[in-house]
Every structure is written in structure tokens, then in C-alpha cells.
Symmetry: C2
Subunit: 389 residues, 2 copies
């Protein structure tokens, strides 16, 4: 019989992480010193409180059993309190579902809120996985390019032209992957309110909420009326160096959570028990742990800015969040090819801007989350030499 | 704004596990000795090899990092070898994706193969989560009642009347949750072949593959042409007592896996790293671990059969797989109410057959996976007294 896979899935393109990493591994095997600016991950391990909780949990039978669908009640309560303090609004444990990471939380949100055929607006450049999930769901991903190509801060005026009768959701990524741009609170509030007035949901991916280096993180849940149409998603992967543990969360009004729990039940039953136990320890005892790395991350960001400033064709205005440099390369019309060349010639892993939508073409995403200061100095020097050829 | 949640999600009903467990907790708090026959989980912990692997993994940095999307290569290879030996067919690591449990594997299969509007045939009584997932996906769940209400063995003749031009998939659950019935190999082969001839996929949930007490488990992957249209899903939750660790697998031709990996990437990135490390140890060193509990499970099944034989209105012909007794109660037309009464009056948690589709009405599902022999003796005595009132 012919291939039974859905046409829409065949049509979806994986981001180029795997091929780039495979090629990097080949080059390393040949003795080359490859520097990776490709990974959107922090360099630090989980806090000791989380590790201690994991070691203790291994000796108790509960760790082998299912947690309740929405997550460990004690974790939900602790997290609700932290998020309430951060957002300055009332948040209770019934407003929180513990998921298997932020991507999974995004899937829960889509499955609960978006029907096949609905349109979902993604300000571009967007996080690739958002676009993939929208399309897999049978909905239509509408890219709304961000007009300000220097700050990359999303405005209502970017989104408005792409509204239609079929718009069901707007996705914010704040701070943004791939640009590192936070959303201006006034613009964020306007987007949420204009959306609510039209019966449109705002799904706010705040994966990098703990990585805002100037000023405070603005959460879409900080609006008085957030419950009406806001779903926030987040993760412990980046804040607490827990990528492999697959644990994150969805924050929404309890009435939305009540529906999302049905999806949670049939899709995954619950997030991994041990990961929830670790997350609870981190949330209770180490909520400010990620902030202890801000100075180091600011230093890395400055090294990249300094290095890029010496490259005539590279343009980047530092953004104040995330762990990303989204750098424009003058004259670049094929960032995928450029990224491949950079790997082969300069032995640098970079992510082509085109992986983040049409509005990312001509850019490269460089992460300063994993590579250390010395590596970043060398990486920018390799970039300079590459472009000076 | 009005509720933004999808009508189809609002319309989906959670199985009654949570309300039953909450009521059981209330009764326990009042001092009653509640016996639960509700949980579809085994009584044993993970094998020592898996626990040792977990302890060691906690000290290595890799456990905090993402695994590759389809899973740890060493686990995929080890599992492919075990499944190939079980099925007697060629299976390689590219045919296997490690998922966050069997439910998640089912979601991956649906997302990869079934479009919104497609019809999916579920022989009834079905596993509730299958029906929920099909509907959440925007597809149509078609219940095909199993004609043989004694063996509950699914036959092609059960399915054939429900075929339509829109049938995209047939779901098998082998051995079945909730009936414990295995599929007859000849009938299974016929279902797969007839489906292939019509361009229909067979998704075979073999969660209880390690729990077949008479004869060997028949896998849908054992057919020579299985790659054409078979997807097998499985889990380490039941075989190795690892429910809380959320790790399972999808087995399909590499061309289907290649598409499913896109869904994996955007939905969850990868299964939890530590759970994969534990699963690898279990697969390599303790593949026959579940078989060591067969004698005990057979004993429990016999206790239930003996006890039920003393209850005039209860009818059950023991099935040879899973950990379930799907018992018909003469005259019962509302199994949900009966289940509630049994909890309140006899302090027994049972699952109403109606939770598994219309063809389950009039039945109760009793699990012998968790409750021990003494508890099962008492449970059947309580049932006898309840029905003798």
C-alpha cells in the first residue's frame, strides 16, 4: 500500500539541528575542534536541592507510580505561589498542570483550544516547534513578521494585519527564541486585550522567563483579566538545567485546565514522577537559582556583541533575554547554506535563521547558553576570519 | 469572552478513575478498609538492574541533557533485538522510537497517520484513552463491538461491518485492556491483511505483551508484511513496574518512524533521559523479569475466578492475558452506578464497564495486578455478600 503517513506531516520540515550535530560529530571525529553555538540550553546542572530530592526519591515506592494527571499537588501549589508572586496576580494550584516540558505544554494548549482548520498567528521569526505543532494539529500557521528588525519586539501592529475570521490563537514567545527579545509590557497588554475583544486566545511561551537580564520579566498572566484568554507555558528545563527530565507546566484558568487534563490523561497520563519531585525541590528551595548565572550570561552576551561588532557584514543589537544572538548577515539570502559552510570551514555550529520562518532568512542564531567565554571569543574570531575571506 | 476550549474536548469524558479514587480516599479517611481492584498496574517494583542504572545515571551529566529525538541509540538497538526475537521478524533500531509511555506512543501514531475527519475503528470494549485520543485528534472513533462476549477475542468479522471509505486505522489492544483477551494469531493475521488490502493501518497496542499466561504473545509485527501497515505500541510501565517513569515505544517501519520523529520533536523532544537509561538496563538484563511474576498472577486470577463462581449473577470466563477480569453482572444496566454502590457499600474500587464503550455496559473491570491474594479473597467475598443482599 502507499505510504500511510499524513501529507501534512510529510510536508513538515524538522529543524536542522540533527544534521548539523551529525556533521559536527563527523568533524570532531576527524580531529577538528568544533564550537557549538547551536544549542538552546544552559551550561549549568540542576540545583543541588533537586539532585538531593532525586536521590531520596529513588528509595521510595511512589516514584514508580503514576502521579495524578495534573501533577503532584504539592508541586502545583508551590509553583502556583511562585508564579502568582512573579505575575502579581492570583494563581492557585487548579490553574496549573505539570507537563512533560514546554513543548508538551504547548501541545496541550493547542489540543485544548485549537480546532483543525483554525488559524494561529505566530509572530516571525518564530520558535520552529510552535509552527510544527500548529500544522500537525491540522491548524494553519500564519507567520506575522515582526516589523522592528532591530529590537525584534513584537507589537500589536505586527499581528493585526494577519487577523481573519478564522484566527483562534496568537502565540507569543517571551523572551523570544530565536531573537532573545522580550515583549514590551504595554504592547503585550495591548495584544492580550485586543485578542480578548475578538475571542482570540494568547498562548504565551515563557520558557526563558528566568533569563531576562535588564528589567523584570513581563508575564502575560500579570494582566488583571488574564484568565479570560491567556495560557502561559513554561519549563524547568532551562531555569534549572533539567532538559533531560522533561518537566514543564501550563498555566491557565482552572476551567481551561479542567479540559486540558483530559488531553493530558490520554496523551501522557502524567509527567515523570521523579522529575516532578525534583522540580518541586527546585521551585521551593532554588527559585532564584537561574538568576545566579545572569552575570556570567551577560558577560557571554557582551563577548558576542564585541566580537560581532568587528565583523562588517554582521549586525546585532543585543536583546535583553533568553540566551540568543540573532545576527543579520548582510547579503545573506540562504542562511541554511551559510550555516553549513560555517560548520565545514570554520567548524562552528550555528542555526540558520530560515529555520525560524521566512522572516528569519538572512540571519543566524548563535546561542550563548552553553559555550563558555573563551569559546565565544574564539567563535567570533572564527566568524570574523570566515567573513573576511 | 465565551469558553475558548474546543467543543470536542468539552464533549470527551474522563474515565471515572479520579472520582472513584477520591471517594476511596474519603472512605479510608473514615476508617474503612477499601480494597482497590481499579488500578491497571502491577504490584512489583522495577528490576534491580534498572534501579542501579538510575543511581549511576544521577552522577553523570548526560542525564540532564536532551536525548536525541527518537531515543538513546543503545536502547533502540537493544529493544529492536528483543522485539525481533519476540516477533520472529527483522526489526532494526530505525524502526523504533522511544516515547513517554504507551499512550504517548499512541498519540504519535495517530498524529502521524490519521487526519482530522478520518475514521478509526476500535473493537469494543476498548481502552478508553484510545477513544479519547482519536476524538481529540479530530478523527471519528467507531466502536465495533466484539461478538464473542465470552472470550472477547476480536475477529475480522467484528470489524468488517464498520469499514467505510473513510476508515484510516483499526486499533487492536492485545492482550486487551479491559478484557484480558489476547487476539487469536490467525484472526490477527487476517485483520492485518484485510486492512492492508484496503490501505488501512493497524495500530496494535501491546502494552501487556509480557502478560500472557497461556501460550506465547502474538505480535502484529510477527507477520512477514507487517511493515506495510502495522504500528505496534508498547511500554515499560507494566513489564518493569515503571509507570511513574513515563517510557514506552513505538515500533513501525523506519519510513513511518522518520515522519513520527517530527511529531516527537515538536511534542516532547525526547522521552525522559533517566527513564531511557533504566529501560535499557531492564531490556538488556531483565527482559524476562515480568515472566517471574506469572505464577503469582495466575494464582490471583484463579482466586478471582473461584470467588466469582460463587456469585450467581456474575459471569466470567478467565482470559489468558493482561491483569483483568471483565465480569458480566446479570441484570446490570448501569455499571457506573453499580461501581459507585460497590465502593460505598462494599468498599471496593471497581471500574464500570461503560468506561470502555457501549459494549462494556453491564460489566465491571476488576484488576488483579495490584491487589494481593488475601485481598482478592476478601474482595470476592464482599462482592458475594453485596449481590446476596
Amino acid at each position: 500500500m502507499p505510504s500511510p503517513t499524513r501529507a501534512v506531516i510529510q510536508d513538515i520540515v524538522l529543524p536542522p539541528f540533527d544534521p548539523l550535530n551529525r556533521r559536527a560529530a563527523e568533524l570532531r571525529a576527524q580531529g577538528h575542534r568544533v564550537i557549538s553555538l547551536g544549542q538552546a540550553v544552559p551550561y549549568f546542572p540542576p540545583p543541588e536541592a533537586a539532585m538531593q530530592a532525586a536521590r531520596t526519591a529513588l528509595d521510595a515506592p511512589d516514584v514508580h507510580r503514576y502521579a495524578t494527571d495534573p501533577g503532584l499537588p504539592t508541586l502545583r501549589t508551590a509553583l502556583a505561589e511562585r508564579l502568582a508572586a512573579m505575575a502579581g496576580t492570583r494563581i492557585v494550584n487548579d490553574d496549573v498542570i505539570i507537563t512533560a516540558g514546554a513543548n508538551h505544554a504547548f501541545t496541550l494548549a493547542l489540543a485544548t483550544l485549537v480546532d483543525p482548520g483554525d488559524e494561529v498567528i505566530l509572530p516571525g521569526p518564530y520558535f520552529t516547534n510552535h509552527q510544527m505543532a500548529v500544522r500537525r494539529q491540522g491548524a494553519i500557521a500564519v507567520e506575522a513578521p515582526v516589523a522592528d528588525r532591530e529590537s525584534f519586539s513584537v507589537r500589536w501592529s505586527d499581528i493585526q494585519p494577519y487577523l481573519s475570521l478564522w484566527t483562534k490563537a496568537i502565540v507569543l514567545c517571551n523572551p523570544s527564541n530565536p531573537t532573545g527579545a522580550p515583549i514590551d509590557p504595554a504592547e503585550g497588554a495591548r495584544i492580550v486585550k485586543e485578542a480578548a475583544a475578538r475571542g482570540i486566545v494568547v498562548i504565551s511561551d515563557e520558557t526563558y522567563m528566568h533569563f531576562v537580564y535588564e528589567g523584570a520579566h513581563w508575564s502575560a498572566a500579570s494582566l488583571r483579566a488574564w484568565r479570560e484568554n491567556v495560557v502561559v507555558i513554561g519549563t524547568f528545563s532551562k531555569s534549572f538545567g533539567m532538559m533531560g527530565w522533561r518537566v514543564g507546566f501550563l498555566l491557565a484558568d482552572a476551567a481551561i485546565c479542567e479540559q486540558a487534563i483530559k488531553v493530558q490523561d490520554e496523551m501522557i497520563i502524567c509527567a515523570p514522577a521523579i522529575s516532578q519531585i525534583m522540580a518541586e525541590a527546585a521551585v521551593r528551595e532554588s527559585w532564584n537559582y537561574p538568576a545566579s548565572f545572569h552575570d556570567e550570561l551577560r558577560t557571554r552576551r557582551r563577548i558576542l556583541a564585541d566580537g560581532l561588532s568587528k565583523i562588517p557584514c554582521a549586525r546585532w543589537t543585543p536583546t535583553s533575554g533568553g540566551m540568543f544572538t540573532f545576527v543579520q548577515i548582510d547579503g545573506c539570502t540562504d542562511s541554511t547554506q551559510l550555516s553549513n559552510e560555517l560548520l565545514d570551514v570554520a567548524h562552528l555550529v550555528t542555526i540558520p535563521g530560515a529555520a525560524f520562518g521566512q522572516s528569519g532568512e538572512g540571519f543566524l542564531r548563535l546561542s550563548y547558553g552553553y559555550a563558555g567565554a573563551a569559546e565565544l571569543v574564539e567563535a567570533t574570531e572564527r566568524l570574523r576570519q570566515f567573513f573576511a575571506r
